[in-house]
C-alpha cells in the first residue's frame, strides 16, 4: 500500500518533468498562434499589429503552399510504401537460415544511424552527381547518358535519400516482430499443406500487422518534418519542386523573415501532425496497461 508520504513524494518526483514539458508545449505554441495573427516582419519598419486571418489567407492561397503540401504528402506516402514493402521483404530475407546473419543485420540497419546532413550530402555528391557520381559512372559504363537526378527529378531524389534512411528502421522493427512468431505455427500450417504464399498471408502477415501499424504511424510523424536532407541536397529546388511544408515554413521564417506568415504555416503543420498523432496516440494508448 502506498502511504500518504509515498504519494506526496511520487507527485514531487513527477513534477519537474510535467512542468518542463508543459512550459515547452504551451509557451512556443501560444506564441506561434499569437504571431500568426500579427503583421510581423523582422525586416519591415511597419508597426506590428493584429491583422486577423490575413497570414492564413496569404499562406493558403499561395500556389507554393499547395505545391509544398502535395510534395509533403507525396514524400510521406512514397517513403512509407518503399520502406514498409521493402522492410517486409528484407525482414523475411534476413529471417532465413544463412551464414553471418548477425553481420547482415548490422549492415542493413546502419543507414539509420547516419546523421541526415551526411546522408543528404553523400547522396547528392558521391552518388547522384551527374558528372562524377557513382550512378553517372554506371550509366556511362552501359553507354547511357548520365542523369542530373537532383535537377531533373528533385522530389524523387529526396524520396530515395529519405527511404534509404528509414528502410533500416522498418526492417529492424518488422524483423523483431517476425522473430517472435513461433516456428510451430508455421510448421503446423506447412504440414496441413499450406504453401509459402498462404503461410505468409494467413500466419505471418497477421502476426506482424501490429508492428506494421507502429512503423507506419511513427515514420509518418518523422516524415512529415523531413528537413535537413532537403536543405543540403536540393535547397527545396529547383524552384519549389522539392519544397515540403517544413522547408517552406523555414524559408518564410529565416529566409524572408516573415514571422507572421511562417507562424501561420507552423500552425497548419501542427494541425496536420495532430491528425496523425491522434491515431498514433489511440493505438499506443490501447497497448498501454498502466
Amino acid at each position: 500500500m502506498a502511504t500518504q508520504q509515498t504519494r506526496g513524494l511520487a507527485r514531487t518526483m513527477l513534477a519537474p518533468s510535467v512542468f518542463v514539458l508543459l512550459v515547452w508545449m504551451v509557451v512556443p505554441l501560444v506564441l506561434t498562434l499569437w504571431f500568426s495573427f500579427q503583421n510581423y516582419k523582422l525586416l519591415s519598419a511597419a508597426p506590428v499589429r493584429f491583422n486577423g486571418l490575413t497570414n492564413y489567407y496569404y499562406f493558403l492561397t499561395d500556389p507554393v503552399f499547395l505545391g509544398a503540401l502535395i510534395n509533403t504528402l507525396v514524400l510521406v506516402l512514397s517513403v512509407l510504401a518503399i520502406t514498409v514493402i521493402g522492410g517486409i521483404l528484407l525482414a523475411l530475407l534476413i529471417d532465413q537460415p544463412m551464414f553471418g546473419q548477425g553481420i547482415v543485420r548490422i549492415l542493413v540497419i546502419s543507414p539509420f544511424f547516419i546523421m541526415p546532413t551526411v546522408s543528404g550530402l553523400v547522396w547528392k555528391n558521391m552518388l547522384l552527381d551527374p558528372v562524377n557520381g557513382i550512378f553517372s559512372h554506371i550509366w556511362r559504363f552501359f553507354g547511357a547518358t548520365p542523369v542530373a537526378w537532383l535537377q531533373t527529378y528533385p522530389l524523387f531524389s529526396v524520396i530515395v535519400i529519405v527511404a534509404w534512411q528509414w528502410l533500416p528502421f522498418a526492417t529492424l522493427i518488422l524483423l523483431t516482430a517476425l522473430q517472435s512468431l513461433s516456428e510451430d505455427q508455421k510448421e503446423a500450417a506447412e504440414m496441413d499443406g499450406a504453401n509459402a504464399i498462404r503461410r505468409f498471408a494467413y500466419i505471418t502477415l497477421p502476426h506482424i500487422s501490429r508492428a506494421i501499424t507502429v512503423v507506419i504511424l511513427i515514420q509518418t510523424i518523422f516524415l512529415l518534418s523531413v528537413f535537413a536532407e532537403i536543405l543540403v541536397a536540393t535547397q527545396g529546388g529547383p524552384g519549389f519542386a522539392s519544397t515540403n511544408l517544413a522547408f517552406l515554413v523555414y524559408k518564410i521564417a529565416l529566409g524572408d523573415f516573415d514571422v507572421g506568415g511562417a507562424a501561420a504555416g507552423g500552425v497548419i503543420a501542427v494541425i496536420l501532425a495532430n491528425i496523425v498523432a491522434f491515431f498514433l496516440m489511440r493505438f499506443i494508448g490501447k497497448n498501454l496497461d498502466a
Binding site: M13, L14, S17, T32, Q96, M115, F169
Partner: protein
C-alpha cells in the same frame, strides 16, 4: 521437430542477403573509402585503385577546427541526455511504482508533446533564443534537445521500470527499509540496464538531430550536423574532405547503434514492439 535446411539452400540465402546488405550499406562504405583518397582521385573513376592517404583527416582539422565541432556534438548529446535522465528517472519511477488513476493520461500527454512538429514552433523559439542571446550557444541547444527527447526517455524508462517485480520493493519495505534505501539498494541495481539502454538511444538521437542544431547555431556552437551542412556550398574540390569529416562524424554513433540495436526497437516504438 525443427527442419534443418540443406546447405545449398543456406548458401543461396546467404548470397542473396549479403548482396542486398552490401547495396544498402554501399553509400557508407563508399564514403569511408573516399575519405582515404587524394582529392583528385575522389572524383575520378570508381574503378581506379587509389593512392591511400590520411591527408584529408589532417586537413579537415587544420582548416576548420574539426574537433571543436566534434566536442560541441559531444557536449550537446551527452549533456542533453544526462539532463533528461536527471528529470526523467524520478518521474518514471513514480509512475511505474506509485501509479494513480491519472498516470496513463499523463504518459499519453507527455508522448503527445513529441508529436508537435518542430517547424510549428521554429519562429517563437528562434525569437526567444535571439532575445535571450542564446543563438549559437551550446547550452541553449542542450536544453532544447533535452526537451525534445524527454518524452522518449520517460517512456523508455517507464517500460523498463514496469518490468521490475514490485514484490521485491514490498519485501524491502516490510523489512523496514527507508524510501531512499529502497531506491539506492534495491531499485537502482535492477534499473541500471534499462537506464543504460535509454542513455545510449538518447545519445544517438541527440547526436543526429538536424533541425534545431541547424537552425539555432552558426559558426561557434555548431555541432557536426551543422558543420557538415556547411559543405553543401563548396568551393573547389572537396569530396574527400567531406568524406573524412563525415566518417569521423558517423563512426562513434554507428558503433553505439550496433551495440544498442535491440533497445532501439523498444525505445522508438514507445514499448509497442519489444
Amino acid at each position: 521437430m525443427a527442419r534443418t535446411p540443406t546447405t545449398t539452400v543456406k548458401i543461396g540465402w546467404t548470397i542473396a542477403a549479403w548482396f542486398i546488405a552490401f547495396l544498402i550499406v554501399f553509400p557508407i562504405l563508399w564514403t569511408i573509402i573516399t575519405s582515404f583518397k587524394p582529392e583528385a582521385e575522389a572524383i575520378a573513376s570508381p574503378m581506379m585503385w587509389p593512392h591511400w592517404t590520411l591527408d584529408n583527416y589532417f586537413e579537415v582539422q587544420s582548416r576548420s577546427d574539426y574537433f571543436r565541432h566534434f566536442l560541441n556534438s559531444v557536449i550537446i548529446s551527452v549533456g542533453s541526455t544526462f539532463l533528461a535522465l536527471l528529470i526523467a528517472i524520478p518521474a518514471a519511477w513514480s509512475m511505474a511504482f506509485a501509479p494513480t488513476p491519472k498516470t496513463k493520461d499523463i504518459l499519453m500527454w507527455m508522448l503527445s508533446t513529441k508529436m508537435m512538429p518542430a517547424v510549428g514552433v521554429l519562429v517563437p523559439m528562434y525569437l526567444i533564443f535571439k532575445t535571450l542571446g542564446l543563438l549559437d550557444n551550446v547550452w541553449g541547444l542542450t536544453v532544447v534537445l533535452m526537451l525534445i527527447n524527454l518524452p522518449i526517455v520517460i517512456w523508455m524508462l517507464y517500460t523498463y521500470f514496469k518490468e521490475i517485480p514490485i514484490d521485491i520493493l514490498e519485501a524491502a519495505r516490510m523489512d523496514g527499509a527507508l524510501l531512499w534505501k529502497e531506491l539506492v539498494y534495491v531499485l537502482v541495481p535492477m534499473a541500471v540496464p534499462g537506464i543504460a539502454s535509454t542513455l545510449l538511444l538518447n545519445i544517438i538521437l541527440a547526436w543526429n538531430e538536424a533541425f534545431w542544431t541547424l537552425n539555432l547555431t552558426a559558426a561557434k556552437a555548431a555541432p557536426l550536423t551543422a558543420f557538415i551542412a556547411s559543405y553543401s556550398s563548396p568551393e573547389g574540390l572537396f569530396w574527400a574532405k567531406l568524406s573524412a569529416a563525415s566518417t569521423l562524424a558517423i563512426a562513434p554513433i554507428l558503433l553505439l547503434g550496433w551495440f544498442s540495436q535491440k533497445q532501439l526497437v523498444r525505445g522508438l516504438t514507445f514499448g509497442a514492439v519489444k
